[in-house]
Symmetry: C2
Subunit: 355 residues, 2 copies
């Protein structure tokens, strides 16, 4: 078993006792950091930054140099898989990710293949290895992927959006085609995450950014069922240590019980959920990760401390909570506020872990 | 008591027995109808359409001429109140509503006054009277307003959006200011809805479009508390008949129990909620309205019938369900599909109401 100086993140995900609540921040290597913006400018564009293991390592390490965070997360994008499938990922300034060749024809869907991570995604596993080396056992490294359904949305729409008209038309009119895409995606996500843990990722998180746009029934059939396939296919132990799996469906607060029943170790919660109610609903099945409103990071240290205190109290006494925001940190947040957040969690959380 | 040829909508909202499930459609007078687009073009712009009682009556009646719907809804906009407060509502093509003078300074907030509906909003009550006359007792007329919090979002941001950074900064840093705005808005919404029912609206609905963007705690303190104030201040009987009140928080599925406890008669549900689970959670307290995914309206009559059948089954046997979409119908829907929807609800729902 490789040595880890700080493993409280992994222990909290497995609901083991910890002396305080661990914290990391979704999108912690991001545009709120001046040094990130400098590296990104040097890379030229976002995709070049993702595809260079050197630069991905550099930006992954940046927030850890500033703040005593309890985990690192691989710097990458959720759309690497459809890019490796040949859909032509590119980023348009101010408009977010787009695909040059979205899935429009039935034959394109039938031809879809799960990419071999060892070839077309080796830049990701190279980055994982290089980050593990740079971390040198300080904190664990989180690997991640988009969920099969979230990837399918981008692959069908060709871009992000709010209504997912094409995806939903397919879901209601040609569910066979969507199930085919999702079967391929579930295989691809499983292989991709296993390749990340083989290369050194010590926990994995599945981001289901768009599952919350589905109806109750459609969520279970088209998003959760395929995340469950992924969870079942993951290698759960490496280097003599359990590899925790975190599922996060943004807007999925109504479905926590079914998410917990997939066999994952933890659920990511957005800020609309009450941590205490969520804990009562999922019982001892899973740990919980979250869920401060990212808008709190636009305020000031005193307000942040109040809201950290409220969040810790809503989870209550005991173990199994990983502090995080309820969604990614926004570019308008300041490093000073992030420092205040991390400090407040370190200072206020031990009281909730005392016997 | 004024005569109503078809009162099953009102009876369903009060959980009284009906022979079938009533149906109306959020935004039923909208851009999916060619005749609506013609009237709107004649009006020049959206706001002129809202402010002309003649034209508002014309478009309110259009969907009823095509489809056997069980209710009419006043054609208006949720932002008439802040417009009457002097914030300068205008519509920018392709960008949605904007305010010329959003609330930026503390003195502007302190100066805010609830408008007297009898003066600055008389175009709305005139439209209500004219629509009632045009309906001639065929089906009931629904009045509506935005929720105090949803209005505040627009008043503070100056426009719609997805992150509500300014509103949330105020919520976390200057809750006193936001509470002041919401107190004024709650007074304004109460007066406005009472003026609508005095003029002839036979049910009212409060649209909390943005409450779902709040954290659990913030939703209760800043959105629901003020909707409750409104519910308590409403005149609940006119013309010898109970006036049902429907609350709809988009994305509010986690909070149905607290919404039902406000004293409203019914909850609007978006499509992420399961009607059966919602019914078990709220018991006999309230009726439920909803909740077909609006994306289903982009498909075809056979698919629509399947999904109508699924929706009716998810509510199950018995009374207290008003069929609707889970959000407004989109311009991409077709009148043919709406006809199929209404026909399917009429044909399939009686079986769920049989003894």
């Amino acid at each position: 078993m490789s040595h880890l100086h700080n493993d409280i993140f992994l222990r909290a995900l497995l609901r083991q006792p910890t002396e305080r609540t661990p914290i990391w921040i979704m999108r912690q290597a991001g545009r709120y950091l001046p040094e990130y913006n400098q590296t990104r400018a040097r890379a030229g564009d976002f995709l070049s930054l993702c595809k260079s293991p050197d630069l991905a390592t550099e930006v992954t390490m940046q927030p850890l140099a500033r703040f005593p965070l309890d985990a690192a997360i691989l710097f990458s994008d959720i759309l690497t898989i459809p890019d490796a499938m040949g859909l032509g990922l590119h980023f348009v300034a101010g408009e977010g990710p787009k695909f040059e060749r979205p899935l429009r024809e039935e034959w394109e869907i039938r031809d879809l293949q799960a990419p071999d991570p060892a070839s077309s995604l080796s830049y990701v596993t190279d980055a994982v290895r290089q980050i593990r080396h740079a971390l040198d056992g300080s904190v664990p490294l989180i690997g991640f992927s988009g969920s099969p359904f979230t990837l399918a949305c981008y692959m069908i729409e060709g871009q992000g959006g709010t209504d997912f008209a094409l995806t939903k038309k397919m879901l209601y009119q040609r569910p066979d085609l969507l199930h085919h895409i999702l079967t391929v995606n579930a295989r691809a996500v499983t292989d991709y995450l296993n390749a990340q843990t083989e290369a050194g990722a010590q926990a994995v998180m599945i981001f289901d950014t768009w599952g919350g746009a589905l109806s109750h029934t459609a969520y279970h059939d088209f998003s959760l069922a395929y995340m469950q396939q992924v969870v079942r296919g993951l290698v759960r132990e490496r280097e003599g240590r359990r590899i925790p799996v975190v599922l996060f469906t943004k807007g999925g607060g109504l479905w926590l019980e079914s998410m917990a029943a997939t066999g994952c170790d933890a659920l990511g919660l957005d800020w609309t959920c009450d941590l205490g109610s969520a804990r009562r609903r999922v019982g001892d099945q899973v740990a919980l990760q979250g869920n401060l409103d990212p808008a709190v990071m636009l305020t000031d240290p005193a307000t942040i401390e109040t809201e950290v205190s409220r969040t810790l109290a809503s989870f209550g006494h005991g173990h199994g909570h990983v502090f995080n925001l309820g969604h990614g940190i926004t570019p308008q947040a300041t490093p000073e506020n992030v420092a205040a957040l991390v400090e407040a969690v370190h200072r206020l959380s031990p009281a909730w872990h005392a016997d």
